[in-house]
């Protein structure tokens, strides 16, 4: 085929080929590497120099005597070759006459569940290896479950080493019958069993005449013909997670990203989430000229007809079929780190192009991947899988990962968790559904902005957050500050701990959890008031650093001003203006900050008031002066 016309024709055929990504799962001695090596060999992916390296390696490390050990072709790393096992996910490439293939070769032994899940996350099909002599094992069931969990719908049960059972049909039939029972139990519908021998190449590339009783396709024939629903994502509503805003100069503002599902059409009405604002697609820009339409899978740059706020992490969606946004979910989590999951700890959660802080609660249950039983578990360890509640610090746009009978919503349903200290990827997860519906997707976008509110009042909003022990003087000083601000014509509001506990937070007590919720609610109210343009003063003990930081993060940079009223416990107890310390010491009040509940001193408060050397009036003057210097008044 050296004639240019032949090559051109051949290249055109290559272009039209479909791509099938699959994973192979099996244990160390199932002959998995041998089978893949054989597939590469049979599809002529192995060059002479590789073959000669292979022959040399086979004599040195091989397990086949003088024969070629195909496993050595795929066992890449030297550490693996020494141990004779595959330790990580490796990707292989080959092509047949009909399709191109990317194989994720994943190891089967128990401690590497995370690698299998990783390999399966991008696969359309799973090849499960079952040793003809051993039958369906616990690990076969485990791999089937994991592959199904991550959304794979096509399975091949490759019964290997048929040469070692004399190509016996009964052995094959018994394994098939066994697997059928299991597949029915967990709801795997699309599976095919094929008897093979990697060593001899039987039913790998070509059908074997040593198993005339088998009338089905060879493994390669099956991979070539299994129907692929390539258009599944294209048939869903349009979702375009925004990756990066392209703004080379004032004249161009393009939003870039890879279309997760559906298609983008010029002049289409769209909605930007989570803000909910609507506009229309003006152009679909590519280096090869503008497009009228682009489909799922394409990386595009779009412009809008109107200036609408949109940045990385937002999702552009069909205006009439937007996805939900929420901040609390049920999710399946696969833990992938040596360090166990810490419930309540803040992790980075990355979903699509969104990055938020998330906490995971104690698991509702852990799944025993061998028996599929639900077990009670206080946390998740390396390679364990469980279901838990995940809460994010702000709403994220999402879709449920699993789609009954269809391809999963990988782009907006799958997430990873990243440790904030080590930056390691510690878990992967799949969202089930929102636990608390957030309605702001359909919320009317606010036409009068917080800037307008503040502008009308001629001031800059701020939240002065007073924190300190009971009796430290928070309320006294906050009152004096508010009087001074009012005298200057500023619009203010003071939220006082005791007052709020009579109303908004009357249902809360003083346990750790209730204190956290108390501060969270006050923070939300303070934020709303700041949105309305007010200068808000709050006087709450707010003993925990994490919650004060939570409120700080709710507000725009510079608007949260932490005022630490620093009064030593001895001094506060000596004053005991409300007689509370005496009661706490007498055991009449439990969980009293400073007595039997901790107070975490601020690390970097904007203002620190030492009440042992400063009067309340002087403190108020100082705070007002500080606000002036920050141009808040």
């Amino acid at each position: 085929m050296n004639a240019p016309a032949d090559v051109a024709k051949w290249l055109a055929e290559q272009e039209r080929k479909e791509l099938l990504r699959f994973i192979t799962c099996g244990s160390v001695d199932d002959g998995k590497s041998t089978l893949i090596g054989r597939l590469l060999y049979d599809t002529k992916q192995i060059f002479d120099d590789q073959l000669s390296t292979l022959e040399a390696d086979s004599r040195k490390h091989g397990t086949q005597g003088e024969g070629i050990d195909f496993a050595l072709l795929v066992d890449g790393l030297s550490a693996e070759r020494e141990q004779g096992i595959t330790i990580d996910v490796a990707y292989r490439f080959f092509a047949s006459e009909k399709r191109k293939f990317i194989v994720a070769d994943t190891p089967g032994h128990e401690q590497y569940t995370r690698n299998m899940v990783t390999g399966a996350s991008t696969a359309d099909l799973a090849v499960l290896l079952v040793d003809a002599r051993k039958g369906v094992l616990t690990q076969t069931r485990r791999h089937s479950y994991l592959a199904q969990l991550i959304g794979i719908r096509h399975f091949v049960v490759a019964v290997t080493k048929m040469d070692l059972v004399d190509f016996d049909q009964a052995a094959f039939d018994a394994i098939t019958a066994d697997y059928r029972v299991f597949a029915e139990k967990i709801g795997i519908a699309g599976w095919t069993a094929i008897p093979v021998s990697g060593l001899g190449g039987d039913n790998v590339g070509e059908r074997s005449d040593r198993m005339s009783w088998y009338t089905g396709p060879s493994l390669l024939e099956h991979l070539d013909t299994v129907p692929l629903d390539m258009a599944a994502d294209a048939g869903k509503p349009m979702r375009l997670p925004v990756q990066w805003v392209n703004r080379p100069d004032q004249s161009f503002r393009g939003f870039t990203g890879q279309i997760a599902s559906g298609s983008v059409v010029r002049s289409q009405d769209i909605r930007v989430l989570p803000s909910g604002r609507t506009t229309r697609i003006e152009r679909i820009v590519t280096a090869d000229g503008d497009l009228d339409k682009a489909i799922a899978g394409q990386s595009v740059t779009v412009t809008f007809t109107h200036e609408v706020d949109c940045s990385r992490g937002d999702v552009i969606a069909a205006a009439d079929a937007p996805p939900e946004a929420a901040d609390q979910f049920e999710a399946t989590i696969v833990w992938m780190d040596e360090q166990e999951m810490l419930p309540g700890r803040g992790y980075w959660l990355k979903l699509g192009t969104q990055m938020v802080t998330a906490t995971v609660q104690h698991p509702k249950y852990e799944i025993n991947v061998n028996t599929l039983e639900h077990l009670a578990a206080p946390t998740l360890h390396l390679n364990s899988i469980g279901v838990a509640t995940v809460a994010t610090d702000r709403e994220i746009v999402f879709e449920p990962y699993a789609v009954a009978g269809g391809s999963p919503n990988r782009a907006l349903g799958g997430f990873i968790l990243i440790d904030k200290l080590t930056n390691a990827t510690v878990a992967a997860g799949m969202l089930h559904f929102a636990l608390r519906r957030a309605h702001n997707i359909h919320r009317q976008p606010l036409e009068v902005s917080r800037e307008t509110h503040a502008g009308l009042k001629g001031q800059k909003p701020a939240v002065l957050w007073f924190t300190g022990l009971s009796g430290s003087g928070k309320s006294t000083i906050a009152n004096l500050v508010e009087k001074r601000l009012a005298a200057r014509g500023r619009h203010t509001f003071l939220l006082d701990g005791d007052n709020v506990r009579h109303g908004l937070n009357r249902d809360l007590g003083f346990t750790e959890a209730d204190r956290i919720e108390n501060v969270r609610r006050v923070g939300e109210v303070a934020r709303l008031m700041a949105d309305a343009g007010l200068i808000v003063l709050t006087a709450f003990i707010s003993p925990f650093r994490a919650e004060r930081e939570l409120v700080r993060n709710m507000l725009p940079e510079g608007e949260f001003i932490e005022v630490f009223v620093d009064t030593p416990i001895e001094e506060a107890e000596r004053r005991d203006t409300k007689g509370l310390y005496a009661k706490a010491r007498a055991g009449e009040i439990l969980n009293f900050t400073g007595i039997d509940s901790p107070y975490e001193v601020p690390d970097h408060a904007e203002i620190v008031i030492d009440t042992t050397i400063m009067s309340a009036d002087d403190a108020a003057d100082m705070i007002v002066a500080e606000l002036s210097s920050r141009q808040k008044v």
Binding site: N2, W244, S299, A428
Partner: protein, 299 residues
């Protein structure tokens, strides 16, 4: 609308990777080695950020021993005002006169591995795009698309971050970095098909031509200038081309008459040796040579 072809999918994935890096890294750079894979990477990057300019510079870690045709193409690429090209040469290697004839593996180590580390440190780059492909070599088949490097630029194959879906973890501490491989999932054939489809300019040495060569240890070496010591050898003019390009004294040619991309592809289809076969670098330390180099910080 027709479904996406295999190449369309690869292109979209690579563009996604470029944009993800630029969105999350502080100071990205593209390693530009002037070869065909670099040419494809550059083309993809231009597409990813069109109509804007590239939001990162190109970095050529030079050894002084590349083919003259490679320098010519590099300078042509750098002439584009929308492209910033940095060239770095390890000053120590320059001072010591390290060369491929007298210093063997030290040549690659000092000029390329050390040179690259020095350049990354000098400019404070925290993400570096490279043109490695998983089909090239066994240890590359196991490397992530976003490959984390510690403060000493070392790769630890046993502590790679799991990489699921198309979610890439680009986070790192100060001093740490990531190597990013946007064409990880491309094969050699894909690269050629794409060069053909997109009409990408590549170094003429990929095409057959009459060139002066000598044969040593089974490698056909081109006499590109007079620095190559001829031990009584007389260079012969043969019709050859190169499947990969590196330092000319380390890069073997193949006899060929392929003058177009179509002819190169046709030749590839009947070829019996893999593309890295002409590279002396892979043979330095036996079978595990590339893996070892990668751990030490080589691209």
């Amino acid at each position: 609308m027709p479904a996406l072809t295999h190449l369309d999918r690869l292109e979209a994935e690579s563009i996604h990777i470029f944009r993800e890096t630029v969105a999350e890294a502080d100071r990205p750079v593209m390693l530009y080695s002037i070869g065909k894979d670099s040419a494809v990477m550059l083309h993809l990057a231009k597409k990813a950020f069109f109509p804007g300019p590239l939001p990162f510079p190109l970095l050529h870690v030079d050894t002084g021993w590349k083919f003259r045709d490679m320098y010519a193409l590099r300078d042509k690429v750098a002439a584009d005002p929308a492209i910033e090209l940095l060239v770095y040469k390890n000053p120590e290697a320059e001072r010591m006169g390290i060369n491929p004839f007298d210093h063997g593996p030290v040549h690659t180590d000092m000029w390329k591995t050390e040179g690259l580390k020095q350049a990354l440190d000098k400019y404070g780059f925290d993400a570096a795009f490279g043109g490695a492909r998983r089909d090239e070599e066994k240890s590359r088949a196991k490397e992530r698309i976003f490959s984390f490097r510690d403060r000493n630029h070392r790769w630890d194959p046993k502590r790679q971050r799991p990489e699921l879906w198309s979610l890439y973890n680009v986070r790192k501490a100060k001093g740490e970095s990531v190597r990013v491989f946007p064409i990880s999932n491309w094969t050699e054939l894909d690269v050629w098909q794409y060069i053909l489809r997109e009409k990408i300019e590549i170094v003429p040495l990929y095409f057959a031509g009459e060139r002066p060569v000598v044969e040593r240890d089974g490698l056909i070496l081109m006499v590109d200038d007079d620095r190559i010591p001829l031990n009584g050898e007389t260079p012969q003019v043969r019709r050859v081309r190169f499947r990969t390009l590196g330092c000319y004294p380390l890069t073997g040619a193949v006899e060929s008459s392929a003058c177009t991309v179509e002819e190169i592809v046709a030749e590839m289809l009947v070829t019996t040796t893999s593309e890295r076969q002409g590279r002396a670098i892979d043979r330095d330390a036996g079978a595990a040579s590339m893996e070892k180099k990668k751990q030490e910080g080589y691209f």
